[in-house]
Amino acid sequence: MANQKIKTNDVILQTVTQIILFIIIIFSIYLFFAGHNAPGGGFIGGLMTASAIVLLLIAFDIKTVKKIIPINYILLTSIGLMIAVLSGVGSFFYNESFLSHTFDHFHLPLLGETELATATIFDLGVYLVVIGVTMTIIQTIGETE
């Protein structure tokens, strides 16, 4: 193919990516945490994080990205599913039915008055699964010749 003969210089793309990447990731984390009270949540957050990694993939190549982020995405999917299930199982210890969530307000150092909900743990599972799934699909298809 053509790009194998002439080496293209992606310096602008790569540089921009390095900056933008963090903005996207931070935005995705914001979306994830904001989910309970504002638009957002695990699903959108996960997709956003995945798209940040996709940007990395486009700017560099799969080998480099694998070196930068050495994550087994299938394992990540399983961990996410495990967290989601366990967050539901946790309610058994309090004699509640499966997936009953609770919340309360705490006073934390640095953050001050904060609301913590067990639903966030479930959402974390969703977040990880979405990242894992999206990246597995894209990476698998991308790796095929």
């Binding site: 979306l31 904001a34 989910g35 309970h36 009270n37 504002a38 638009p39 957002g40 949540g41 695990g42 699903f43 959108i44 997709l47 956003m48 798209s51 995405y73 299938i74 999917t77 399983s78 996410g80 599913l81 989601a84 299930v85 539901g88 499966f98 997936l99 969530h101 919340f103 309360d104 609301e115 909900a117 639903a119 479930f122 959402d123 599972g125 969703v126 699964v129 979405v130 894992g132 799934v133 999206t134 597995t136 699909i137 698998t140 298809i141 790796e143 095929t144």
Partner: protein, 798 residues
């Protein structure tokens, strides 16, 4: 569980041990181990005669399926006892015969006796069950064990053909019988035959009476090889001869007769019953006897003769039912036809059993059963010849054998029918004695053929496979015993008339009729029956002498029109047509299947909406339409039309994505920020995947073509679109109940501490759904991963 139950089930239990005998005691013929059981059972059943003679019945019940009210009720009366004695008695003789008939080195005796025991137990169960469901269970077991026994030499193609044919026909009848039984249960509310007898009037006046009767009769006719279902019986002759003697002459084929006799008290008051049973029977008699004459195989002659004799008994049972319509019955004149039926049933079992054994001996000692090769065996096999003469002459209805007595009674019954006056019997009834008489002539002819073609004439040793000689004594014992019965019963008919016939007839007739003493005498004086018999003999002798001259008559009927060819053709065309039908609609194209699915979707939904008057258009609930919505809708429509009509794939993908992005704008407009965000990202990802997929399409089919225009496709897609739109409008126009969203609005912060209601519903109120949705995602990714990676691995191998 009473002793009676154990007696019925003992063959099944014993059957479990038969293969062990065969495997571990190889030196002794397995039959010797099996023999004691039927003897024991025979004497056990003999012990009931005392009770049934005095009009008592024995009833033992064991609950089987309590919730359905099905219990295994064993009921012994005269009729059951007669059959039980036949089954065990002839069973004993047949097993004795088979010990000498089957070679212990060459044959798989273990499975032979296992099937035989299975059959014996099933048959005992059929005749001794009072519960119709239990009766049906045993009934099908007889079909199954008969199938196994016919196909005993399963390396022969003809055996397999015969076994399959008999199974198909008898199971067809058995299933329709089950249908009849279920209807009977619906009418009466009980599974017990004895209890049904008290509800005769209710059954007769029920609207389902005729279907019930016909379904049950179908079962009886198929099992008892009546016209036109007899065709399986001649092919069942591929079974080993002991089996033919036992199943296909003495016991199983009489199960249908048993059923007709057993249910006579329930159905006999209907004149339809009489007409069906007797006309089918009498026609079978004629048809079977005519067909038996042209056979050249000994067992085929006997098969058709069995068909004919069964038809005779069946017609007698029908005529016996007819006599119930007469006033004179209450005066105490017992119906002679029923007695004749039972008497002949007994006689037939004796002489037909012995004749089959004779055929088996001839086959065994000469190597052939073809009467064209046989002849002159009289001096070589004198004992066999004597037995054959006794059996055949009895079958032909000659004195001094028991067949004469029952044939006389048969004629009496048929002649008596002409004196009855109900439901057109006086006009058509005259046909019965005439057909019976003609049938008897043919019976006479084939009986003579059976004896004289085999045993007289020139001896042809060069045509025989073996050097003919008399059979070993062990093989002769059973037919000798049966033949001696044939003679003894003629001279001492009272031996069985009081002990067996009277209680049996009492069981067949409805309870309100008192059975008089039955006296069977060989000599009635010069009456019409005697002259009929004399006529049969004279015409029979004439026909037999002139047999070569009128043989050609049988060639008039072309072979293609026979029932067998019809059956074969029907089976073949059934296979062919069903395969063609399947090929017709199972095209293998997903496009076609989608057409079926969508057209059914339109049809079923449309019909339901029309029938239920569901199409409503109501503008009450509709909010005002804003400009943005109109614009976005137009963009979507434009995108859709472009997608459908585009010539290149790339255009289609981009047009589709425009639809998707407009949708996310709609979400924005309708105030669903979460949905809008998700839709945006998902649309982007899926477009990227689409592009990826099309980029990788193989070169060969890559040339882009204009979409095929198909009228049907357009019609169906428009249909589906219109249907969905109409249903959506109708649903919106007639909303029922209140939305539950109010609850979420009120409680999402109070109960779950979240202000984002959508997210709270997703992770808290209805987190269960989300859990499985992410599972679906995980499975999808794993599927894509394994699909791609496994494909690569396979390519790497090759």
């Amino acid at each position: 569980m009473s002793l009676l139950h154990w007696a019925i089930l003992s063959p099944f239990i014993f059957a479990l041990f038969v293969p062990l005998f065969f495997k571990y005691l190889k030196n002794i013929h397995t039959g010797w181990f099996v023999l004691p059981l039927p003897i024991l059972l025979f004497f056990y059943f003999i012990s009931f005669i005392q009770e049934t003679m005095h009009g008592e019945t024995i009833k033992e019940s064991v609950a089987w399926i309590r919730s359905l009210n099905i219990s295994f009720t064993a009921h012994v009366d005269g009729l059951s006892l007669l059959f039980a004695l036949l089954i065990t008695g002839i069973g004993t003789l047949v097993i004795l015969y088979s010990i000498f008939y089957l070679n212990k080195q060459k044959e798989q005796l273990g499975s032979f006796y296992l099937f035989l025991m299975l059959f014996m137990g099933a048959m005992l169960g059929v005749v001794l069950s009072d519960n119709i469901i239990v009766l049906y269970t045993f009934w099908e077991l007889t079909s199954l064990s008969s199938f196994l026994l016919i196909g005993y030499w399963n390396n022969r193609e003809k055996s397999r053909y015969g076994a399959q044919k008999s199974l198909l026909i008898t199971v067809f009848g058995g299933l329709s019988m089950l249908g009849g039984f279920i209807l009977l249960y619906l009418i009466t509310g009980t599974f017990s035959i004895q209890e049904m007898m008290n509800q005769t009037n209710q059954i007769l006046n029920h609207e389902l009476f005729i279907p019930t009767m016909i379904l049950i009769l179908l079962g009886a006719f198929t099992k008892s090889a009546q016209f036109p279902f007899y065709i399986w019986l001649p092919d069942a002759m591929e079974a080993p001869t002991p089996i033919s003697a036992y199943l296909h002459s003495a016991t199983m084929v009489k199960a249908g007769l048993y059923l007709v006799a057993r249910l006579s008290p329930i159905f006999a008051f209907s004149s339809t019953w009489f007409w069906i049973v007797s006309s089918v029977g009498i026609f079978t008699l004629l048809w079977g006897s005519i067909n038996a004459v042209k056979q050249t195989d000994l067992k085929a002659i006997l098969a058709f003769s069995t068909v004919s004799q069964l038809g005779m008994i069946m017609s007698l049972l029908g005529v016996g039912a007819a006599s119930l319509h007469l006033e004179s019955l209450s005066d105490g004149i017992y119906p002679v036809a029923t007695t004749a039926a039972i008497f002949h049933l007994f006689n037939h079992a004796t002489f037909k059993g012995s004749l089959f054994m004779v055929a088996g001996i001839v086959d065994h000692e000469t190597g052939t059963r073809d009467i064209r090769r046989l002849g002159g065996l009289m001096t070589v096999m004198p004992i066999t010849f004597t037995i054959a003469v006794i059996g055949s002459f009895s079958m032909a209805g000659l004195p001094p054998f028991n067949g004469f007595l029952s044939k006389e009674m048969f004629f009496t019954g048929m002649v008596e029918l002409t004196h009855m006056d109900f439901s057109n019997v006086q006009t058509w009834g005259i046909l019965f004695p005439i057909i019976a008489w003609i049938g008897s002539i043919f019976t006479f002819v084939y009986c003579m053929i059976f004896v004289f073609k085999t045993f007289t004439g020139p001896y042809k040793p060069d045509q025989l496979k073996k050097q003919a000689h008399e059979a070993p004594i062990g093989m002769l014992i059973s037919p000798i015993i049966l033949a001696s019965f044939v003679v003894i019963v003629f001279f001492y008919p009272d031996l069985i008339s009081h002990t067996i016939l009277e209680p049996t007839v009492a069981a067949i007739l409805p309870a309100q009729y008192i059975v008089e003493e039955i006296h069977i005498k060989p000599w009635h004086g010069f009456n019409i029956e005697l002259f009929m018999t004399i006529g049969v003999v004279i015409s029979g002798v004439l026909l037999y002498k002139l047999w070569p001259k009128w043989q050609a008559i049988y060639n008039i009927m072309p072979n293609k029109l026979t029932l067998n060819k019809g059956y074969d053709h029907a089976l073949a065309s059934l296979e062919k047509n069903s395969s063609n039908l399947t090929k017709l609609y199972m095209t293998g194209f997903i496009r076609d299947y989608l057409i079926y699915i969508f057209s059914f979707f339109i049809l079923i939904l449309g019909a339901t909406m029309v029938i239920k008057d569901g199409f409503v258009f109501n503008t009450e609930n509709i909010t005002s339409i804003r400009l943005y919505e109109v614009i976005l809708a137009l963009v979507m429509v434009a995108g859709t039309i472009t997608t459908v009509l585009s010539r290149s794939r790339l255009t289609a993908i981009i047009a589709l994505s425009s639809v998707g992005y407009s949708l996310s704008l709609f979400f924005v407009l309708f105030r669903a920020p979460d949905l809008a965000l998700t839709q945006l990202i998902i649309e982007t990802v899926s477009v990227a995947l689409f592009l990826l997929a099309f980029y990788h399409l193989p070169e060969l089919t890559k040339h882009e073509r204009k979409l095929h225009f198909r009228f049907v496709h357009i019609l169906i897609s428009f249909g589906v679109g219109i249907m969905v739109t109409l249903i959506a409008i109708s649903a919106n126009s007639q909303r029922v109940g209140q939305s539950i969203s109010k609850y979420y609005e009120d409680f999402s912060y109070k109960l779950a501490g979240g202000k984002n209601m959508v997210n709270v519903i997703l992770v808290d109120f209805r987190g269960f759904d989300t859990l499985f949705e992410i599972t679906v995602l995980g499975i999808a990714s794993l599927a894509i991963y394994s699909m791609i990676k496994l494909k690569v691995a396979k390519e790497g191998e090759s």
